[in-house]
Symmetry: D2
Subunit: 367 residues, 4 copies
């Protein structure tokens, strides 16, 4: 197998022209597309419709070009979008593709491997509960198998998109006599993210299984996976997984690395992940090195204690700008400055995903 | 003379308790305070009242402790505040003080020198015009004299706070038969910033005098001063100047350096200014080195061409978040990450202040 | 001819399920749909993508159900959306349809008539100029003909969607040696709205032709049409017109009326337009009377002098919330309260559309 | 006793010039000022510093003019501010004054009576609990006595400003072994508002005492007082009460009335309260009648079920604009339109204060 990653820009959230051009030019076969991770220019909140807009336009294009029905595409090609291109961040999306190739992998060289999985549909009363965690564990294991990765140490980034509870779903559950953890969408998304993080941590062995209990959620923040990137939204009914790692069974010229970020000022974490890929920022990557990068994926969080290395921050008490918008802009500015490129996927809501108050970074680059 | 700079935090824009504590402890004599530059947690726009709130609380405290009338303080101690602590930025203010000391300066060692000046009150019809530029030139020269600096090369940062036109002032001018450039406050502030930048450039010789004409404003962006930091507001009626440089005539242990920033991703400019002060970020300052820093002053701007190194940014078309808030958060995140501290003064509106699309950075540190 | 207007709700900007249901039930023939005016839940600014999202979903649905190509639908069925459902406003859209019927109109009874028109594509250098005004005049006349209305007095509401200048379009013009009035999108939209308003005023005789010159734009605010509702956006290349009036040549049970609103507090204008249709609010419409209403269309504006009946308002100086969002929420709250229904189309940017500082209201109801 | 109410405008949150002018002119004796309720132009959220700015400027002015220490004023003159002048709302404040007069009240005529009270300081662990309710009951009773009102039916509006929990207060409580209901400021404010509403309802007999239990909070929304207006903030340590009613023991020419508002579209409630005072809006008050009004006080709430009379609203899911800002703008637009004046005090957060999804209105007018 061989993986490819195309990083494409867009003029607006419905603009798939760069992808269409790749199809037109024969550079990319529509049937090889297996996943999308993208950054659209919405607010990243409940009322961010740039994600739905992109998904509609993407699925319509892929349906037209691949000859597959739109519904089938929505059920088999995970499309995970994070709204919010604060500051220097540039709207863009990563198209992940894979194809069987006859070239044998070079012995001893691990290359980027991609796996996807969809859990069964999940009833709303399971959102954020142990049953949710178990569904994610199974889906991550399935995505590992799909990627042909045996050793959890070879996994470097797991993107999960998990369902949340809505008012309508809560009522449907109540009608069946089932109770949801919360009917408030925003709160429910946080529960879903934590269940997803616990699921990834369990599947990959990032934290002791005995401690990953419901009681530990939102409490024991040392329990975390620095390879878990979880988002949640009303638009999915099951848990969608995109798993990225390196494997000796894959050929190609891409590899992935990841590192935790201790806090929003942890420039050291960024340097380290670049170093893992043989890239040196001094203090910025050279243009040649920057051109080797195919994708940068960051998860971060405004420190919930209201201070950063002893100095008060104001993100959590701001009624004008959502805290996640604040942190994405700041961490995006830092990472973009080191790499010299604004095409950084930065997503907030990093509970139990990397160190408390920090997060994680993964980079895909040509080796 | 000896200069000192105290960097103080605040719990809210009216909280001067850390300054009061310095007075209480005898660490700082209220009579030595000569200027304040601060970052309050407002939105940085026309309706940002955190600046007025701070100024009221500061002037009341200084009046009480120094025995000088509040009005006299407002007319002699420049208090320049920039609203907006986006992302990791921490609300804080720099208190500049100076005192005559008997210690002779060490030969060959230039140390931080501080000068202040107030232009005469300026009628609204002069805002943004040549007459405005001339007033700033004179005030900068006066501040240089106040700081005891002869050579413009020894000046590293000039903060100007310039008046703007308001609807009321425009009407007053019209009643006298005078016409203002614009009666729109926001637009008028931009005019005032450019006139201020041209004034600093002229006074310091940063651009050819013959080219610094009214026609060149908002047009020839290569005409700029990377030592000019201009803000404008309804709260002043004259041009207030705080000038910072190094001088052999001053003792103490502080020095200042500055560098241009080519764009919002110019991490190299940040490294360079730290290097000028003997500080090395690799990739972040050590805690010991960070503790040597007494103030970081940054000016920046969302690139008005809508792209950054070829990638589209969305700051200028965002109806939800003002463009200046975006850029402050991003550049603040970058600089804070390198230094390891969120107490960075970052101000937007950098027309002709540093390179087009970029800005400048100045750092005060113990040597 | 017979006109119908369906007022439909949506769960999100891509939700056309209520329209699909009308098609499914045979209540509405897709081939009869001639125009859409809708209110989506975006911010109403440059970066409001809810309009594009709705348009994509709408045109895809209509293409599928009518068998016409999507491109043809976009070029023949005007779809005018205003973003922003501030306060009590409810996301909804009006589907206008017309069909030839054999029933002869009742003598002496004028009923709702609908006409649409598209001007030729307009080069960017014409935006906001006299040539723009002339194109709108011709399009309005064409729409009157399309509606079968001879007497301008029978026209009650003209919705125009006009192109604006973008950076790309300005560069294209410059390459041809042509100059645009402004390359700034937001400013260009205002120019386009004023040209549209002047065009409608000329076509309908709402102001003296001799005074409707370029010089009068943004200046002589007594020149206005209280039947003109103009929006502008990057998404169109020509001027699209939806014209609504009453005609003896149309049958059906709907009629339309309109009134100016003197300012944002002009509850009298709202009462008057309801009275024109035989509806009395005392102080609110009865449920039965409210059910007779098929559409409410409002245009309004924050008073540019910064005060309302002598009391200062803060809409124009708010860096957190755009002024148009403020005024839509306030006027929407007033109109919705009188009618008892939040499905009100309220659009800002009312320069020369109704009295200065006010706007207009049109209501479609069963008679 | 005789009560007076001065409604004053402000150019910014620190502008007390109109009050100073009343003092200068001898129109108002500083020693008679007993309370202030005002609407400042902040965002109304946790980071709204316009309230603190106004309070600092007000207390400094009153201290200077009355000769009383600022601390004493803060502890005896309640100053309750609500941030947010969305839409047509105009920044203003009501200065309540009372003085002993020799004129005997006219028999049979009840006139505006004002009472104030401060509960003892309340520890954070009591916020939102039964103990909090009891403190409010006692303070309301004390304010009734202060106003000389015996019959709860004569009370028309009770403004309570209650403390909330902050992170620091929660830690202080924890250090004493006490537990707070929540350490999250926003959530704690809601608890405090509900405790305040229950306290007023108990004190005035607006709901059965047996049902006003902790379990009923946020649940049994039919338990409410349409005379309770509660706000909560970090700036107070005890419960401050301003009670307004009519009393035969007071002279003067002012009276107050109140009505519930069933929902945000309840124009009928507004008409009714005006009718109670002999004022008729048809559809708007005449200028002469509007001039009789000295204050309008409104409490409202975005319907937490996400719909208003069957139509979806978007206030609760908006990440860009806080829901309270939305509802204030809409209800403010409605009430201002009926009265013809933007000087309306509108405050959000109306849990158990008036009908669920609605709120209340009180009007003070000359009779």
């Amino acid at each position: 197998m061989r993986a490819s990653v195309h990083r494409l820009g867009m003029a607006h959230p419905g603009d798939l022209s760069q992808l269409a051009a790749l199809f037109d030019a024969g550079t990319l076969d529509p049937r090889h597309v297996c996943a999308v991770i993208g950054k659209t220019e919405g607010n990243g909140g409940v009322n961010d419709f740039t994600r739905g807009y992109f998904t509609l336009a993407f699925s319509a294009l892929l349906a037209e070009r691949s000859g597959r029905p739109r519904a089938e595409i929505l059920d088999s090609v995970p499309c995970v979008l994070s709204g919010g291109t604060e500051g220097v961040l540039s709207p863009h999306y990563l198209v992940f593709a894979r194809e069987a190739v006859e070239v044998a992998p070079v012995t001893g060289q691990k290359r980027l491997a991609i796996g996807v999985a969809f859990s069964p549909a999940m009833p709303p009363e399971q959102v954020g509960c142990r049953a949710h965690v178990d569904l994610v564990v199974a889906a991550v294991q399935q995505a590992m198998a799909d990627a042909g990765i045996d050793d959890p140490a070879d996994v470097h980034f797991v993107q999960v998109k998990a369902p949340c509870v809505t008012a309508a779903r809560a009522q449907e559950a109540a009608a069946r006599g089932a109770a949801v953890l919360t009917a408030e969408s925003g709160r429910s998304m946080a529960y879903a993210r934590v269940a997803g993080a616990f699921g990834v941590a369990l599947a990959l062995g990032d934290a002791p299984a005995a401690r990953l209990t419901e009681d530990a959620m939102f409490r024991d923040y040392d329990l975390q996976s620095d390879r878990a990137s979880i988002s949640s939204g009303v638009e999915v009914a099951c848990n969608e997984v995109i798993l990225l790692g390196n494997s000796a069974g894959w050929s190609g010229d891409l590899a992935i690395a990841h590192r935790p970020m201790a806090d929003a000022l942890d420039i050291g974490g960024v340097s380290a992940v670049l170093g893992d890929l043989g890239l040196a920022a001094a203090p910025q990557l050279s243009a040649a090195d920057a051109a080797r990068i195919h994708g940068v994926l960051v998860k971060c969080e405004p420190d919930r204690r209201g201070a950063l290395r002893g100095n008060r921050h104001t993100m959590l008490d701001d009624t004008d700008i959502n805290a996640q918008r604040h942190i994405r802009g700041a961490v995006g500015g830092l990472v973009a400055g080191i790499i010299g490129d604004g095409r950084i996927f930065v997503s907030g809501g990093a509970e139990h995903q990397g160190p408390d108050g920090g997060g994680l970074i993964a980079v895909i680059a040509r080796v």
